[in-house]
Amino acid sequence: MSEPASLSATAAGADAVAPALSGPRGPRPRKRLSRANIIVYGTLIVVSLYYLLPLYVMVVTSLKGMPEIRLGNIFAPPMEITFEPWVKAWSEACTGLNCDGLSRGFWNSVRITVPSVVLSIAIASVNGYALANWRFKGADVFFTILIFGAFIPYQVMLYPIVILLREMGLYGTLGGLVIVHSIFGMPILTLLFRNYFTSLPEELFKAARVDGAGFWGIYFRIMLPMSLPIFVVAMILQVTGIWNDFLFGVVYTKPDIYPMTVQLNNIVNSVQGVKEYNVNMAATLLTGLVPLVIYFVSGKLFVRGIAAGAVKG
């Protein structure tokens, strides 16, 4: 057998013990409290305290009686826990002649939020899909205008939309409000959906077209099932935005469908002598409860969705 050009000059002999080598072995010893760790966790804990402080104040205040609040220290835990402010905020606080607290608005908010979230996400996801996969002439122009729309202060559009809704015969109806929410949710949501769908492999779309699926077939059968994270993001953003909306709710509807935030505004701004801070805080917490719960439940998906939708590079 012939030797090939051997370049391994130092290779020689059979296995043997290498010269004695010594020094540390095994895993690097981990200092539990290294300086870096102290900085990282220390910062995070301090920051967390800052972020939690207002929530703490809200909760604590809402559990105090008015006399205790007047004593001063908002950070002190309640000496005597009372749920009366919560009860009052929910069902007794007065606005004008109505003394049924937030409860009246809760179901209205649900009735407004659910269809608005569904419709706005439906429209925005179709938009994003059309922009990402079916680029047609002028699409970029419309999209740019849409993004421009994200910057328009809502107040500016108040009257034009009143006129628009009147012409459509939808003014003062739930449907009208749903449309308004869909319009103002469209820019950012479309941006997110477009980025997300762009990030999906284009070959899937092509494969489905070869398979004879049409615009809607691809959307429903291929794209939708792959888009859970971004739908979660959109849902969270929209639920938060729509649930917390006051301006549209009050301007484009009537008292019988006023959302919870109108009641909240009424409770907070109807000053009867002194401000009942405890009731205000309870009302505030009650109003914020729905979006908060959604956040706590789906926070993980939110980050994943943001990673997929907002951030393409």
Partner: protein
């Protein structure tokens, strides 16, 4: 080559992305049942051409006929084509079975016929045990088979493959290559296959279209492309390690170069033998060395510069008069850098190209 009944005809196809012309007045005729491979370096427009045929890109100008029918503006699903993608493009949320039947459902076929076709395709591709799984639970090779199955069930005349094997490892690739070849022999429908990989191209194709810059440079059988490349680019592109070139000038049957004059006896000129600057090409595997070189019409005395033993073969770079040549030798050959080596080749095996036009002489 004249085809009487082309399965696919492409006429004056042009496609531009904005100002960039990606396909330039491209013509191509593919016969019924033929296996055509599109080969070319990255960015030359292979995928673009395939997408045009599939109807996934709107052409800027020109016409596309499939089975004699003008489909230039037809929907992809109605062109009678099936397509297999590099990234498999399986629908991740559907089972294999659903992946296969998706197109059929869209076409509105009855349930039992769908089941029959899916079963048939699964049998051919031997993926019956996988039907209930989702793509994520499949290996790369299995995924690729499902992707082929998706085209298979649709009973189409034309299969389009866009680098279907390039995401797989070498071992698997070799296996699937053979399977695709056999599939073609079984089904005998027209196939257009895009690849980077010469081995795939050479082994699979009835004819290879070598593309460059949105144009087809040569469209011929693998053997012709290997043995009679029509231009410098094709000559250099095909073959690994690639062809050696020697610059010089040709005049009266003699190629004059720094390494010495080479008599072109036995060289099959493409046209009347002209004169002028030219390049002579010779493949490493056509250069003999040592004793065998003695028998060759052209002989050179060289010095070994570099040795690359591949096990099965050994590649040796030799130098002569400042010119380097790669020579393929046997795996057992014993050579050392610096050693003198006589090499030789037959002008019949060489290739001559015009220096300016790069066309074969």
């Amino acid at each position: 080559m004249h085809i009487t009944d082309p399965s696919i005809s492409i006429r004056n196809l042009k496609l531009s992305f904005g100002a960039v012309e990606v396909l330039k007045d491209l013509d191509l005729d593919v016969a019924q049942g033929e296996f055509v491979v599109l080969l070319g370096s990255s960015g030359c427009g292979k995928s673009t051409l395939l997408n045009c045929i599939a109807g996934l890109l709107d052409v800027s100008d020109g016409q596309i006929f499939i089975g004699g029918r003008n489909v230039t503006w037809e929907e992809p699903s109605r062109r009678g084509i099936g397509m297999v993608f590099q990234s498999y493009a399986l629908y991740p949320q559907m089972t294999v079975e659903a992946n296969l039947s998706f197109g059929l459902k869209n076409a509105g076929l009855p349930r039992d016929e769908i089941a029959r076709k899916v079963a048939e395709a699964a049998r051919i591709l031997q993926i019956e045990p996988l039907l209930k799984r989702k793509p994520a639970a499949l290996s790369g090779g299995q995924r690729q088979r499902v992707a082929i199955g998706r085209a298979l069930v649709r009973d189409v005349d034309v299969f389009l493959f866009d680098e279907p094997l390039s995401n797989l490892d070498a071992k698997l690739r070799a296996g699937l290559r053979v399977e695709i070849k056999q599939l073609h022999q079984t089904l005998s429908n027209t196939m257009i296959y895009v690849t980077h990989d010469q081995v795939e191209a050479m082994t699979l194709a009835d004819r290879i279209a070598i593309m460059k810059g949105g144009q087809v440079l040569q469209f011929d059988t693998p053997h012709e492309i290997y043995a009679r490349p029509s231009c410098l680019y094709v000559a250099e592109f095909i073959g690994s390690p690639s062809m050696n070139f020697i610059d010089g000038a040709v005049a009266e049957g003699i190629f004059a170069a720094p390494v010495g004059d080479i008599a072109l006896e036995g060289y099959d000129f493409a046209g009347p033998p002209g004169t002028g600057p030219a390049r002579l090409g010779i493949r490493p595997e056509h250069i003999a060395s040592g004793p065998e070189a003695e028998a060759m019409p052209v002989r050179l005395e060289t010095v070994v510069e570099l040795v690359e033993p591949l096990g099965s073969d050994t590649l040796v770079r030799v130098g002569v008069q400042g010119q380097s040549l790669w020579v393929r030798m046997d795996g057992q050959a014993v050579v050392q850098p610096g050693q003198a080596l006589q090499v030789g080749f037959a002008p019949a095996r060489a290739h001559l190209f015009d220096k300016a036009t790069e066309a074969r002489l």
